[in-house]
């Protein structure tokens, strides 16, 4: 093997080290081992270090740090280390490079070009600590009008289509058991139940232990149809997965070695078999087929739960979304090109799709022009890094923001992108039951609850400063955003005025 320079260098300060061995016990990647002869931990192979920070944080003496490997590549504006390393890896293996988490390229972040409005003088800001600011959101189809009939002098109101109540417009996105560990997924299921919102099951089905959380789960029906049984259909909502932001047009593979007893029970497949999700749904080759599947799921779930469709944000996302609404979906989930994954070909993860900000603005405006935006709920995710991104995506037109990397970080994830290796030292992206124990379910759930509540409080505070006391008055309220970036065309697509632009048409006033 042609050697390459490691990315990181592990440094152990032996003056501080007490030779307890925690670092080597915790290192799952084989960078540090404990040498019995010398009775101390040794850096065995810097090339194995992924900077997961597990050793650094578990060292009781702060004796370890990790630095970038101190070697300078010959400066080159084109042949940067990223490309040189990738070529080396593919030259060695002859395979597709896999990667985890979201797109790690430094594309411009549209969120960072947006700022929002606040009340001054002409309307009073609301103090969210003292006055109600409502974040409750309903997920599901809305009819255009109430259906009222008069029977014997009394007005009868027809029941609304099924809707799920969310206490906050934040849901946790789809992550399957298998892509993440039993402990990690249980912690998040508990968190959404406590907060009163939803999480996606991912395409891996639902373990019997988790049936108790069904009223807080969106059951995903993906191309592999793993774990889709009659009990699964009792989730709060069902979602047909067409695409995922990290790998539009791509399915997924869970290699047989990860399909242990737990996974095989959950997915309903034999032990040790590869779980292959085809790239397309093989019963959906066109929109009319999607319509059939939506209708079938409605029928199978006895019209009790909303049925949605998840798509990746791609060029033509607005027209596709319109077709999906007309095919009968009750909600649409749009996943942006920075969205995370347990495993995706890096070439796809880093290049396919469009940013969620542009996709949501396009879909919201397109559906509005077609007069059907009101009928559906739009969920959007794909790297909402902070509550500010959440707030901006709602103003751009999403009813609900979807997060997945953020709650994983709450559970300990350091975004080292090693998910497909199954070696996650934090016990999150692994099917190894021993490693999974590294996530304390109760404490993990508490941290995810805290995160969801903290972002909700941020949202309430910000709505208050804008003089808005219910989040539904903020959905698609692009009027309250301004653009502060380099590209006026971007502002035009977003439907947002440039910061400082004086009011001309369609502004607030009295």
């Amino acid at each position: 093997m042609l050697k390459t320079v490691p990315r990181f260098k592990v440094n152990i300060d032996y003056e501080k080290c007490i030779k307890c061995g925690r670092c080597s016990e915790n290192c799952t990647y084989g960078a540090i081992t404990f040498d019995r002869e010398q009775d101390k931990p040794l850096v065995k192979n810097n090339a194995n270090c992924v900077s997961c920070q597990r050793c650094v944080l578990f060292c009781p003496k702060e004796a370890i740090n990790i630095s970038q490997y101190p070697v300078t590549y010959a400066p080159h504006g084109t042949w940067m280390p990223y490309y040189i390393r990738a070529i080396n890896e593919q030259a060695e293996t002859g395979g597709v490079l896999l990667s985890g988490m979201g797109n790690d390229m430094s594309y411009p972040m549209v969120f960072d070009y947006l700022v929002w409005d606040a009340c001054q003088v002409t309307n009073p800001a609301i103090d969210a600590l003292r006055e109600p600011v409502e974040t409750r959101t309903y997920l599901g189809r809305k009819s255009k009008n109430l259906h009222i009939s008069e029977i014997e002098g009394k007005f009868e109101l027809e029941d609304l289509p099924p809707n799920v109540v969310l206490s906050t417009p934040i849901v946790i996105g789809h992550m399957s058991l298998g892509s993440i560990s039993y402990n990690a997924i249980t912690a998040m299921y508990r968190a959404v139940k406590e907060v009163g919102t939803l999480m996606g099951t991912g395409e891996g089905g639902l373990h019997r232990d988790h049936y108790q959380f069904r009223s807080n789960l969106i059951g995903e029906v993906a191309s592999g149809r793993f774990g889709v049984n009659s009990e699964y259909l009792e989730c709060a909502a069902l979602e047909i997965k067409i695409g995922q932001g990290a790998k539009p047009g791509h399915g997924g593979q869970l290699p047989g070695e990860k399909v242990n007893k737990l996974i095989s029970e959950t997915r309903g497949i034999p032990l040790g078999t590869d779980a292959l999700s085809p790239n397309p749904q093989h019963d959906i080759y066109s929109i009319e087929d999607l319509k059939t599947l939506i209708a079938a799921l409605h029928e199978a779930s006895e019209y009790k739960v909303p049925v949605g469709v998840k798509i990746a944000a791609v060029n033509n996302v607005a027209a596709i979304a319109s077709g999906i609404v007309r095919a009968g979906a009750d909600f649409i989930t749009i996943d942006g090109f920075r969205g995370g994954t347990g495993a995706a070909p890096r070439v796809i993860r880093d290049n396919a799709g469009i940013p969620i900000e542009l996709a949501v603005a396009a879909v919201d405006q397109h559906l509005t022009e077609e007069g059907i935006r009101h009928e559906v709920t739009i969920l959007a995710g794909g790297t909402l890094r902070s509550s500010s991104d959440l707030i901006k995506i709602i103003a751009l037109g999403a009813d609900v923001g979807m997060i997945a990397t953020a709650p994983l970080i709450a559970l300990g994830c350091k975004v080292c992108q090693q998910c497909p290796t199954g070696k996650c030292s934090w016990g999150i992206a692994t099917s190894d039951p021993i490693l999974a124990q590294r996530v304390d379910i109760e404490y993990g759930a508490r941290r995810v609850v805290n995160l969801l509540r903290a972002w909700t409080h941020d949202l309430e505070e910000v709505l208050g400063t804008m003089g808005i006391d219910a989040v539904e008055s903020f959905v698609g309220n692009r009027d309250r955003l301004r653009y502060l970036g380099p590209n006026p065309k971007e502002a035009e697509i977003l439907g947002v005025k440039h910061a400082g632009d004086r009011l001309k048409l369609g502004s607030c006033a009295s």
Binding site: V121, T122, K142, L157, D364, L503, S507, C508
Partner: protein
């Protein structure tokens, strides 16, 4: 000795000019005509609430001779490089409607140094389409597409008069004392976020509805999107129009039963908090939840009080505020129980009527009166008077 003359009264230069708009409305519940002379007293009292950059009024029952025709009242301003605006409007109207009469609206000269032409057409749609929708589309087309023409109102037996000036100037300019009507609403403006201009003064009107507004709609962007879906074009540089269009949609276009349409509209515009909805009796809760979910984008957020006057299904006046009541609104009924008043301030009502029968409608609740009497005082529980009618 000081070079400044001592002031025994507050010097003109220090005249306070606080921010707010003044709104008021008067309805004779017997349908008798009220003279504009009386109205003028009400509307020129609240000078603290205006800054001379806009005022206007709506009057119902003004055209008994043409009460079955739609009265299209327009501001016309000729641009140098095109045909006169009036000719272009007339040409467009002739394609779509029958014109019974058109006339220049009489105005008093010498009040404004310059002012636009005010013209009105009495029209009726030609073919068998829904006449209200045809007229609504015509008004929207004129405002959107015909340069130099601006439609002030397009209802039957009613019209809107407004412009850029103090309330007393507008009253005199349109010779309000010569007008008579059974229902009036009046607005004096303190524009902040948008420029003062003739079309931007209140009331905003569509078909038989006219709306005057004090406040700011913070949900404007969301409401505009909803209206776009419903086929309404927002072009008037102000947030008030969204309330007028939302109201038109909810009480007329939606086709809700007339008995409960107002209740639904008021609840959609200022829905109860979820925690209040949870405490309602199950039957009412079902309606409140459905209204709030279905018309979630009709919710008008931010501080406002509005007075809506409408002739649909019969002459009705509605006072309504945001659910935190961040703008004032007071209601009153005359001692003889003939006249219903709404106003930002009690002093405007007391300028013409010393009635002691006045009250504050609750936050987010509507006070509604119509020909025949007061329907809701705005202090009742949701659906209180009609709950026995809900299945």
């Amino acid at each position: 000795m000081s070079i400044f003359k001592s002031h025994f009264t507050r010097p003109r230069i220090l005249m306070r000019n606080p921010s707010a708009c003044g709104i008021s409305g008067v309805l004779n519940m017997d349908g008798e005509l009220i003279s504009g002379r009386k109205i003028k007293e009400i509307i020129t009292v609240m000078t603290e609430r205006e800054n001379g950059l806009g005022a206007g009024f709506a009057v119902y029952g003004a055209f008994p001779k043409y009460k079955d025709d739609y009265c299209l009242q327009l501001i016309l301003e000729d641009t140098p490089d095109s045909d006169p605006a009036k000719e272009r409007v007339e040409e467009f109207l002739k394609e779509h409607v029958e014109i019974s009469k058109d006339e220049r609206v009489q105005v008093r000269q010498g009040i404004f140094r310059e002012h636009p032409t005010i013209w009105r057409f009495f029209i009726n749609p030609k073919d068998g389409q829904n006449p209200d929708d045809v007229i609504k589309d015509i008004a929207m087309y004129i405002n959107d597409r015909i340069d130099g023409a601006f439609c002030l109102s397009c209802g039957k037996d009613m019209a809107v008069f407004k412009g850029n000036g103090w309330s007393h100037e507008i009253a005199d300019f349109y010779e309000i004392e010569k007008l008579k009507g059974y229902m009036w609403s009046f607005h004096s403006r303190f524009p902040t976020n948008t420029p003062g201009w003739w079309g931007g003064a209140h009331p905003f009107s569509i078909l038989g509805h006219a709306i005057i507004h004090n406040g700011e709609i913070t949900s404007y962007g969301t409401n505009v999107n909803y209206l776009k879906e419903l086929g309404y074009v927002c072009k008037l540089l102000t947030d008030t129009e969204v309330v007028a269009y939302l109201f038109d949609f909810l009480v007329r276009k939606s086709g809700y039963p007339k008995e409960i349409a107002y209740e639904i509209a008021a609840m959609a515009l200022s829905p109860p908090y979820w925690r209040e909805i949870e405490r309602m009796p199950p039957e009412i809760r079902k309606w409140a939840t459905a209204i709030r979910i279905t018309h979630r984008k009709a919710m008008a957020n931010g501080p406002f009080s509005v007075i809506i006057t409408t002739d649909y299904p019969k002459p009705t006046m509605i006072g309504h505020s945001d659910r935190k009541k961040l703008r004032p609104l007071i209601a009153a009924v005359s001692e003889d129980e003939k006249t219903f008043y709404l106003s930002s301030e009690l002093n405007a009502i007391h300028a013409v009527d010393d009635t002691r029968n006045f009250w504050q409608p609750d936050p987010g609740k509507a006070a509604i009166a119509t020909i025949g009497g007061v329907i809701k005082k705005g202090t009742e529980k949701p659906f209180e008077n009609i709950s026995e009618k809900l299945g």
